[in-house]
Amino acid sequence: MALDQAFAGRTYPPTEPYLVSREKIREFADAIGDQNPAYRSVEAARALGHPDIVAPPTFAVVVSSRASAQVIFDPDLGLDYSRVVHGEQSFSYTRPVVAGDLLVAVATVEKIRSAAGNDLLTLSCALQTAGGEPVGTARSVIVARGTAEDAGPA
Protein backbone atom coordinates (compact mmCIF):
# COMPACT_ATOMS: atom_id res chain seq x y z
CA MET A 1 0.00 0.00 0.00
CA ALA A 2 1.39 3.39 -0.94
CA LEU A 3 1.94 5.82 1.88
CA ASP A 4 -0.59 8.60 2.44
CA GLN A 5 0.70 11.80 0.82
CA ALA A 6 -1.24 13.77 3.42
CA PHE A 7 1.63 13.07 5.84
CA ALA A 8 3.97 15.28 3.80
CA GLY A 9 4.58 18.46 5.74
CA ARG A 10 3.48 16.96 9.05
CA THR A 11 5.55 17.87 12.11
CA TYR A 12 5.64 15.64 15.19
CA PRO A 13 5.94 16.76 18.81
CA PRO A 14 9.47 17.28 20.22
CA THR A 15 11.12 14.19 21.72
CA GLU A 16 11.73 13.94 25.45
CA PRO A 17 14.87 15.94 26.34
CA TYR A 18 18.02 13.82 26.01
CA LEU A 19 20.99 14.65 28.24
CA VAL A 20 24.23 14.09 26.32
CA SER A 21 26.64 12.60 28.85
CA ARG A 22 30.41 12.25 28.71
CA GLU A 23 30.10 8.51 29.27
CA LYS A 24 27.63 8.09 26.39
CA ILE A 25 29.96 9.97 24.05
CA ARG A 26 32.86 7.75 25.17
CA GLU A 27 30.74 4.62 24.72
CA PHE A 28 29.72 5.74 21.22
CA ALA A 29 33.35 6.57 20.35
CA ASP A 30 34.37 3.08 21.53
CA ALA A 31 31.63 1.56 19.38
CA ILE A 32 32.96 3.29 16.26
CA GLY A 33 36.54 2.46 17.27
CA ASP A 34 37.63 6.09 17.39
CA GLN A 35 40.38 7.10 19.83
CA ASN A 36 40.15 10.87 19.14
CA PRO A 37 40.94 12.54 22.51
CA ALA A 38 38.26 15.20 21.92
CA TYR A 39 35.68 12.42 22.53
CA ARG A 40 37.29 11.35 25.80
CA SER A 41 39.27 14.05 27.54
CA VAL A 42 37.70 17.27 28.80
CA GLU A 43 41.15 18.90 28.71
CA ALA A 44 41.67 17.89 25.07
CA ALA A 45 38.24 19.23 24.10
CA ARG A 46 38.83 22.49 25.96
CA ALA A 47 42.19 22.89 24.24
CA LEU A 48 40.21 22.92 20.98
CA GLY A 49 37.95 25.64 22.35
CA HIS A 50 34.95 23.48 23.27
CA PRO A 51 33.18 23.73 26.63
CA ASP A 52 33.22 19.95 27.17
CA ILE A 53 33.95 16.73 25.30
CA VAL A 54 32.66 16.70 21.74
CA ALA A 55 30.30 14.19 20.13
CA PRO A 56 31.34 12.42 16.90
CA PRO A 57 29.72 13.77 13.70
CA THR A 58 27.15 10.96 13.57
CA PHE A 59 26.39 10.84 17.32
CA ALA A 60 23.26 12.96 16.84
CA VAL A 61 21.53 9.89 15.40
CA VAL A 62 21.09 8.74 19.00
CA VAL A 63 18.71 11.67 19.46
CA SER A 64 17.33 12.08 15.92
CA SER A 65 16.40 8.39 15.69
CA ARG A 66 13.96 8.91 18.56
CA ALA A 67 12.18 11.55 16.50
CA SER A 68 12.28 9.44 13.33
CA ALA A 69 10.81 6.52 15.26
CA GLN A 70 7.72 8.61 16.00
CA VAL A 71 7.10 8.73 12.25
CA ILE A 72 8.25 5.23 11.33
CA PHE A 73 6.05 3.64 14.00
CA ASP A 74 3.08 6.01 13.57
CA PRO A 75 0.20 3.53 13.17
CA ASP A 76 -1.71 6.05 11.04
CA LEU A 77 1.15 6.17 8.53
CA GLY A 78 1.23 2.38 8.38
CA LEU A 79 4.84 1.84 7.37
CA ASP A 80 5.82 -1.85 7.31
CA TYR A 81 8.96 -1.77 9.48
CA SER A 82 10.11 -5.19 8.30
CA ARG A 83 10.57 -3.67 4.84
CA VAL A 84 12.32 -0.51 5.95
CA VAL A 85 15.92 0.24 5.03
CA HIS A 86 17.98 3.37 5.54
CA GLY A 87 18.48 5.10 2.19
CA GLU A 88 20.30 8.31 3.03
CA GLN A 89 21.48 10.23 6.06
CA SER A 90 22.97 13.65 6.54
CA PHE A 91 23.83 15.98 9.40
CA SER A 92 24.47 19.68 9.41
CA TYR A 93 25.49 21.58 12.50
CA THR A 94 25.19 25.18 13.56
CA ARG A 95 27.35 24.29 16.56
CA PRO A 96 28.91 21.07 17.84
CA VAL A 97 27.08 18.69 20.18
CA VAL A 98 28.97 18.58 23.49
CA ALA A 99 28.56 16.73 26.77
CA GLY A 100 26.03 18.47 28.98
CA ASP A 101 23.70 19.39 26.13
CA LEU A 102 20.03 18.72 26.78
CA LEU A 103 18.67 18.03 23.29
CA VAL A 104 15.28 17.58 21.71
CA ALA A 105 14.53 16.59 18.13
CA VAL A 106 11.52 17.65 16.11
CA ALA A 107 10.71 15.43 13.13
CA THR A 108 9.01 16.73 10.01
CA VAL A 109 7.98 14.63 7.03
CA GLU A 110 9.50 16.59 4.17
CA LYS A 111 8.47 14.41 1.28
CA ILE A 112 6.78 11.15 0.40
CA ARG A 113 7.29 9.63 -3.01
CA SER A 114 7.33 6.31 -4.81
CA ALA A 115 10.14 5.11 -7.03
CA ALA A 116 10.71 1.70 -8.59
CA GLY A 117 8.01 0.17 -6.42
CA ASN A 118 9.45 1.53 -3.18
CA ASP A 119 8.03 4.20 -0.90
CA LEU A 120 10.58 6.86 0.02
CA LEU A 121 10.07 9.01 3.05
CA THR A 122 12.29 12.07 3.57
CA LEU A 123 12.48 13.12 7.21
CA SER A 124 14.06 16.20 8.67
CA CYS A 125 14.86 16.23 12.38
CA ALA A 126 15.60 19.65 13.83
CA LEU A 127 18.04 19.29 16.73
CA GLN A 128 17.88 21.96 19.38
CA THR A 129 18.47 22.39 23.08
CA ALA A 130 15.53 22.09 25.44
CA GLY A 131 15.91 25.88 25.79
CA GLY A 132 15.34 26.33 22.05
CA GLU A 133 18.90 26.98 20.83
CA PRO A 134 19.34 25.47 17.33
CA VAL A 135 22.11 22.85 17.12
CA GLY A 136 21.63 21.30 13.71
CA THR A 137 19.53 19.18 11.41
CA ALA A 138 19.56 15.44 10.76
CA ARG A 139 17.92 14.49 7.48
CA SER A 140 17.16 10.92 6.45
CA VAL A 141 15.54 9.04 3.64
CA ILE A 142 13.71 5.91 4.75
CA VAL A 143 12.94 3.35 2.07
CA ALA A 144 10.07 0.89 2.41
CA ARG A 145 10.94 -1.82 -0.11
CA GLY A 146 8.22 -2.95 -2.47
CA THR A 147 5.34 -1.19 -0.73
CA ALA A 148 4.30 1.32 -3.38
CA GLU A 149 1.18 0.59 -5.44
CA ASP A 150 3.17 0.08 -8.61
CA ALA A 151 5.27 -2.60 -6.96
CA GLY A 152 5.46 -5.93 -8.65
CA PRO A 153 5.06 -9.21 -6.75
CA ALA A 154 7.31 -9.13 -3.69
Binding site: E27, A31, N36, A47, L48, S82
Partner: protein, 142 residues
Protein backbone atom coordinates in the same frame (compact mmCIF):
# COMPACT_ATOMS: atom_id res chain seq x y z
CA UNK B 1 45.22 17.57 19.02
CA UNK B 2 44.09 20.70 17.27
CA UNK B 3 42.65 21.54 13.89
CA UNK B 4 45.82 20.87 11.99
CA UNK B 5 44.86 21.70 8.43
CA UNK B 6 45.16 25.26 7.19
CA UNK B 7 42.80 26.38 4.45
CA UNK B 8 45.71 27.86 2.55
CA UNK B 9 47.49 24.49 2.43
CA UNK B 10 44.78 22.66 0.47
CA UNK B 11 43.46 22.84 -3.04
CA UNK B 12 40.91 21.05 -5.16
CA UNK B 13 42.29 17.54 -5.52
CA UNK B 14 44.10 17.39 -2.18
CA UNK B 15 43.88 13.78 -0.98
CA UNK B 16 43.06 12.89 2.62
CA UNK B 17 44.99 9.94 4.08
CA UNK B 18 43.06 6.76 3.21
CA UNK B 19 42.19 4.26 5.92
CA UNK B 20 40.84 0.72 6.22
CA UNK B 21 38.46 -0.49 8.90
CA UNK B 22 37.65 -4.06 9.90
CA UNK B 23 34.06 -4.75 10.86
CA UNK B 24 33.37 -7.97 12.74
CA UNK B 25 30.17 -9.26 14.29
CA UNK B 26 31.25 -8.00 17.72
CA UNK B 27 31.58 -4.48 16.30
CA UNK B 28 27.97 -4.61 15.10
CA UNK B 29 26.81 -5.78 18.52
CA UNK B 30 28.76 -3.01 20.22
CA UNK B 31 27.36 -0.39 17.83
CA UNK B 32 23.82 -1.68 18.35
CA UNK B 33 24.20 -1.17 22.07
CA UNK B 34 25.78 2.26 21.83
CA UNK B 35 23.38 3.61 19.22
CA UNK B 36 20.19 1.88 20.32
CA UNK B 37 19.62 0.39 16.86
CA UNK B 38 18.74 -3.23 17.58
CA UNK B 39 17.28 -4.07 14.16
CA UNK B 40 17.71 -7.87 13.94
CA UNK B 41 19.29 -7.72 10.47
CA UNK B 42 22.44 -6.44 12.20
CA UNK B 43 22.88 -9.41 14.51
CA UNK B 44 20.62 -12.32 13.54
CA UNK B 45 21.83 -14.26 10.48
CA UNK B 46 18.71 -16.46 10.37
CA UNK B 47 16.38 -13.49 10.03
CA UNK B 48 18.76 -11.45 7.83
CA UNK B 49 18.97 -14.23 5.24
CA UNK B 50 15.23 -14.95 5.49
CA UNK B 51 14.47 -11.39 4.31
CA UNK B 52 16.79 -11.76 1.33
CA UNK B 53 20.02 -10.27 2.66
CA UNK B 54 23.30 -12.02 1.89
CA UNK B 55 24.21 -12.20 5.58
CA UNK B 56 24.06 -10.10 8.70
CA UNK B 57 24.77 -6.56 7.49
CA UNK B 58 26.54 -3.65 9.15
CA UNK B 59 24.45 -0.70 10.29
CA UNK B 60 24.63 1.95 7.57
CA UNK B 61 25.22 4.42 10.38
CA UNK B 62 28.27 2.43 11.53
CA UNK B 63 29.71 2.48 8.01
CA UNK B 64 28.98 6.22 7.87
CA UNK B 65 30.67 6.76 11.25
CA UNK B 66 33.79 4.78 10.26
CA UNK B 67 34.09 6.67 6.99
CA UNK B 68 33.94 9.96 8.91
CA UNK B 69 37.22 9.02 10.57
CA UNK B 70 39.05 9.90 7.35
CA UNK B 71 37.69 13.43 7.88
CA UNK B 72 38.20 13.76 11.62
CA UNK B 73 41.68 12.19 11.72
CA UNK B 74 42.70 14.58 8.94
CA UNK B 75 41.36 17.75 10.52
CA UNK B 76 41.94 16.84 14.18
CA UNK B 77 38.94 18.61 15.72
CA UNK B 78 35.86 16.45 15.01
CA UNK B 79 33.64 19.51 15.40
CA UNK B 80 35.22 20.88 12.22
CA UNK B 81 32.92 18.51 10.28
CA UNK B 82 29.97 20.89 9.96
CA UNK B 83 28.05 18.94 7.32
CA UNK B 84 28.20 15.26 6.43
CA UNK B 85 25.86 13.20 4.30
CA UNK B 86 25.80 9.84 2.52
CA UNK B 87 23.60 7.54 0.50
CA UNK B 88 23.63 3.87 1.48
CA UNK B 89 24.09 2.31 -1.93
CA UNK B 90 25.02 -1.27 -1.02
CA UNK B 91 24.86 -3.36 2.12
CA UNK B 92 28.06 -4.38 3.90
CA UNK B 93 27.72 -8.09 4.66
CA UNK B 94 29.58 -9.19 7.78
CA UNK B 95 30.26 -12.94 7.86
CA UNK B 96 30.53 -14.86 11.11
CA UNK B 97 34.27 -15.46 10.91
CA UNK B 98 37.52 -13.99 12.26
CA UNK B 99 37.92 -11.53 9.39
CA UNK B 100 34.48 -9.95 9.03
CA UNK B 101 34.26 -7.22 6.41
CA UNK B 102 36.83 -4.62 5.47
CA UNK B 103 35.87 -1.08 4.62
CA UNK B 104 38.32 1.01 2.60
CA UNK B 105 37.80 4.77 2.70
CA UNK B 106 39.54 7.59 0.87
CA UNK B 107 38.76 11.27 0.54
CA UNK B 108 39.52 14.20 -1.71
CA UNK B 109 38.90 17.94 -1.55
CA UNK B 110 36.47 18.80 -4.34
CA UNK B 111 35.63 22.43 -3.69
CA UNK B 112 36.96 25.45 -1.82
CA UNK B 113 34.15 27.27 -0.01
CA UNK B 114 33.58 30.58 1.73
CA UNK B 115 34.65 30.99 5.35
CA UNK B 116 37.79 28.81 5.04
CA UNK B 117 35.68 25.71 4.52
CA UNK B 118 36.16 22.92 1.98
CA UNK B 119 33.95 20.25 0.51
CA UNK B 120 35.36 16.72 0.68
CA UNK B 121 34.10 13.71 -1.21
CA UNK B 122 34.64 10.29 0.34
CA UNK B 123 34.84 6.96 -1.44
CA UNK B 124 33.99 3.89 0.64
CA UNK B 125 34.24 0.35 -0.67
CA UNK B 126 33.78 -3.12 0.78
CA UNK B 127 34.70 -6.27 -1.18
CA UNK B 128 35.29 -4.02 -4.20
CA UNK B 129 31.80 -2.51 -4.16
CA UNK B 130 31.07 1.13 -3.49
CA UNK B 131 28.93 1.10 -0.35
CA UNK B 132 28.37 4.83 0.12
CA UNK B 133 27.17 7.18 -2.60
CA UNK B 134 27.40 10.97 -2.62
CA UNK B 135 29.43 10.78 0.58
CA UNK B 136 30.22 14.43 1.08
CA UNK B 137 31.24 16.66 3.92
CA UNK B 138 31.90 20.32 4.58
CA UNK B 139 34.94 20.78 6.81
CA UNK B 140 35.97 23.96 8.60
CA UNK B 141 39.70 24.56 8.23
CA UNK B 142 41.84 27.14 9.99
Amino acid sequence: MSASVGYDTVQVGTELPAQGFDLKRVDLVRYAGASGDFNVIHWNQRIATSVGLPNVIAHGMLTMAEAARVLTDWVGDPAAVVEYGVRFTRVVAVPDDDLGARLEVSGRVTELLQGRRVRVELTATAAGDKVLGQARAVVQLT
